[in-house]
């Protein structure tokens, strides 16, 4: 293997590729060659660094220099200055938003300081399409150790001791799940990796598959050994072309190396993996629905029991785990269950990956130890709220979760605390909202999603969610009444109690949690007909601030219903009865003379 003095790691995840990281890789390579440095430094296309806000990212090793928002035309300078002369290109360094100082070493960036990367350990570090790089980071060592030294029950015990819980949403203890599947006798069993990430705003599974596909393959093989399965299936979204490609490459490499296939490492254990494609259905995240989809049916859930561990894919015992859960498995065997169990809170061990997004300065993918507070995540890692606005709420758990507020900021994040606060961990979406976000609209947004994604099998979810959505629409349109609010609450509870699967049992959460924490806002919508955030079009009241209006007539010309009158160079007036609240005047006014309430 060639020895390089320096490495240029370029993020080739979906986010950075969308802002030209592929061209950057081409240009860096061309410049290295041009300047005769191709034997000194190597360009590596890696998985996601997580700091998507400032992408594309180029990180240089060994000095940890972290260049942000790099453009293809910056490549010549990076090579001639940094690689050749050893001088950092200051203008591309990350600037601390508070001190305005350039940060040279990524270890000192607020975004990374509180993170602990276990599931994401290799993302942004290795070339995901090169198995040797994974092996150099102790890849497949856990599998080797287990096959050589451990019995099935010893290996399962190790997972149980680690306290690992399912990262897909439910938080079920992984070791217990494996134990149940291992005890069921059958001629064929299956290991399934749930990579049908459907939660809008969460993309950790995709990042892991794109950045470290071998960790999933290794973990699935370990699970196969533990439960006695020789076949693995990855159920992956067809909308993730890059993840699919990298997984296919990784599977082929693993087969070449004898790490998949018959008699792995001479142990007599055989295991192979096949891909199954999803076709866009959120409900397929539910394991029974997922299994039906893999069998070629509509992805409708069925009543449990029987659990997949008894009767799953093709009627055989099947163990389903999520991508992030699997990503944790090899490390547990390498560093030991007690090490893993030492991280996190009493009942939630290890770390959790969150997709931090919304009105926050540092959008990105983060991994933090369980027990960290929302405040640390939002204000330290996330760098606070965008444009200096005020924090209003954070939504966790996607369409199944709820909104948490200011008073929850110091709650340690773990599975149980989030549920106690009326939300849930879910797959790890974390959407931050500021004062401009209307919580009724947010609830409506999630219900719109649920209505579309409900499979329609059971009535509470099919009809109930539709009704919830209609009431929320009515409230946002300024036609709600106070009775609607209690109706919303009652109906939500009925849906939760009577739905067949996890989707319906959690879908009213966004309504219930916003009702609980933002009841005043709902009340303002139905009583005073005001949307305090100014988001609901029908509830907006546009007026002209006479002092600011220069009488330029721009708004008069922009108004589609001739609701604005006034002479040139005289303050104009909006006729509230004629106004259709389209906001055209607001967009047009250069003097911020239009006031919206």
């Amino acid at each position: 293997m060639a020895q390089y003095k320096m490495h240029l790691l370029v993020c080739a995840g979906t986010g950075c590729r969308a802002s030209q990281s592929e061209e950057i890789i081409v240009n860096l390579n061309a410049e290295l060659k041009k300047q005769g440095l191709q034997y000194d430094a190597q360009v590596v296309a890696t998985g996601c660094f997580g700091f998507c806000e400032k992408g594309p990212i180029v990180k240089i090793l060994p000095d940890n220099t972290f260049y942000t928002q790099v453009k293809p035309e910056d490549c010549a300078e990076i090579i001639s200055e940094h690689i050749l002369k050893g001088r950092r290109v200051n203008r591309l360094l990350y600037e601390d938003p508070e001190t305005r100082k350039h940060i040279e070493d990524s270890k000192h960036m607020g975004f990374y300081q509180k993170q602990l990367r276990i599931a994401l350990r290799n993302c942004g570090f290795i070339d995901p399409e090169n198995i040797d790089e994974y092996i150099a980071r102790d890849g497949y060592a856990a599998l080797g150790k287990i096959l050589a030294e451990m019995t099935q029950s010893q290996a399962i015990d190790e997972i149980k001791k680690s306290g690992l819980r399912g990262r897909g949403g439910g938080g079920f203890p992984t070791g217990i799940k494996w134990e149940i599947a291992s005890k069921n006798k059958a001629d064929q069993k299956y290991v399934v990796c749930n990579a049908d990430e459907g939660d809008p705003g969460a993309f950790m599974d995709r990042s892991i598959l794109e950045g470290d596909p071998h960790s999933i393959i290794e973990a699935m093989a370990i699970c196969g050994y533990c439960i006695g399965a020789s076949k693995g299936l990855v159920y992956i979204r067809a909308e993730y072309p890059l993840a699919i490609k990298r997984l296919q490459v990784a599977i082929a490499q693993a087969r070449d190396y004898g790490l998949l296939g018959g008699d792995i490492m001479g142990s007599g254990f055989s295991f192979d993996i096949e891909l199954k494609y999803g076709a866009g259905a959120f409900v397929c995240g539910e394991e029974t629905a997922l299994i039906h989809s893999m069998e070629g049916h509509r992805g409708e859930p069925t009543v449990k029991p029987p659990f997949p561990a008894e009767k799953g894919y093709l009627g055989k015992p099947t163990n389903v785990n999520n991508v992030e859960t699997f990503a944790n498995v090899p490390v547990i065997f390498l560093k030991g269950a007690s090490w893993f169990a030492s991280i996190g809170t009493e009942k939630s061990k290890g770390t959790k990956v969150f997709a931090l997004a919304g009105k926050i300065n540092n959008v990105g993918l983060i991994e933090v130890p369980m027990g960290i507070t929302l405040r640390e995540v939002i204000f330290e890692i996330g760098g606070g709220i965008k444009d200096g606005k005020k924090f209003k709420a954070v939504q966790t758990g996607g369409p199944s979760g709820g909104c948490l507020t200011e008073k929850h900021l110091d709650t340690p994040i773990d599975f149980d605390n989030l549920i106690a606060a009326g939300s849930m961990m879910g797959s790890g979406g974390m959407i931050v909202m500021d004062e401009d976000d209307c919580m009724v609209s947010v609830a409506k947004f999630y219900l719109e999603f649920t209505v579309e994604e409900s499979c329609g099998k059971c009535a509470p979810c099919r009809v109930g969610n539709k009704r919830l959505h209609e009431i929320l629409e009515k409230i946002c349109a300024g036609k709600g009444t106070e009775d609607d609010l209690s109706y919303l609450e009652n109906l939500s509870k009925v849906i939760k109690d009577t739905s067949l699967c996890g989707l319906g049992q959690t879908s009213p959460n966004p309504v219930l949690s916003t009702l609980e924490h933002f009841y005043d806002e709902y009340l303002a919508h139905v009583k005073e007909r005001i949307c305090t955030a100014g988001r609901c079009k029908a509830l907006k009241l546009y007026t002209i601030i006479a002092d600011k209006c220069t009488g330029c007539t721009a708004c008069i010309r922009a108004c589609p219903v001739a609701a604005i009158t006034g002479e040139k160079r005289q303050p104009h007036v909006i006729d509230v009865d004629k106004c259709i609240r389209c906001g055209a005047c607001y967009d047009k006014c250069k003097f911020t003379a239009i006031h919206v309430q």
Binding site: T14, G15, A18, S19, C52, E53, K54, G55, G198, D199, P200, G201, A202, F203, R206, S207, A238, E239, K276, Y277, G278, A279, G280, A281, F282, S293, E295, G296, H297, R298, G299, L314, A355, A357, G358, K359, V363, G364, Q395, G398, G429, I431, M433, D437, V442, F445, Y446, F449, E452, C455
Partner: protein, 159 residues
């Protein structure tokens, strides 16, 4: 929109794809993925042909096609536009972008322009939340889109 009439050559293609999966009904979703990437969409005639090959009912095929959002029974435009409606894009104003596109193209979400040039859809999270709001046209990703840029972006598609 012209109705799709199935030809013998189409039947051959479908047969070939079904054969490559050993006409196994359990592979129905994979088969439909392949066929849709070949034809662009899954009109009724194609579904009938698939059902015949796999020896299952047309209702079963139709049930699966209509269940999953990835499958479509109407052809997309030459330049399919997808607006990300993930939560991150939503809170950063994706709704405004959709409204602007609807206005400019004079079609609804799910529709195709009369000349077949553009079609408009919403999708759930492409995972480029750092660039929110995100619009995809074909394979190209437009990040941090503002409503005022929509006209310019559309105009850049000349043919």
């Amino acid at each position: 929109m012209s109705t799709f009439k199935i030809q013998d050559c189409h039947k051959e293609t479908i047969k070939g794809i079904c054969n490559s999966f050993e006409n196994n009904p359990g592979e129905l979703i994979s088969i439909l993925h392949k066929i849709q990437s070949e034809f662009g969409y899954l009109p009724e005639d194609i579904q009938r042909e698939v059902a015949k090959n796999l020896k299952i009912s047309v209702a079963k095929v139709y049930g699966v096609v209509t269940f999953y959002s990835f499958f479509t029974m109407t052809p997309k435009g030459k330049h399919p536009i997808s607006v990300c409606m993930g939560t991150a894009c939503y809170v950063r104003g994706a709704e405004k972008i959709v409204d602007e596109l609807k206005d400019q193209l004079k079609i609804k979400v799910g529709g195709v322009t009369a000349d077949g040039k553009f079609s408009l859809d919403c999708l759930r999270c492409v995972g480029a939340c750092g660039l929110a709001p995100v619009v995809l046209i074909g394979e190209k990703v437009y990040g941090r889109v503002e409503a005022s840029q929509v006209r310019e972006i559309l105009d850049s598609y000349v043919d």
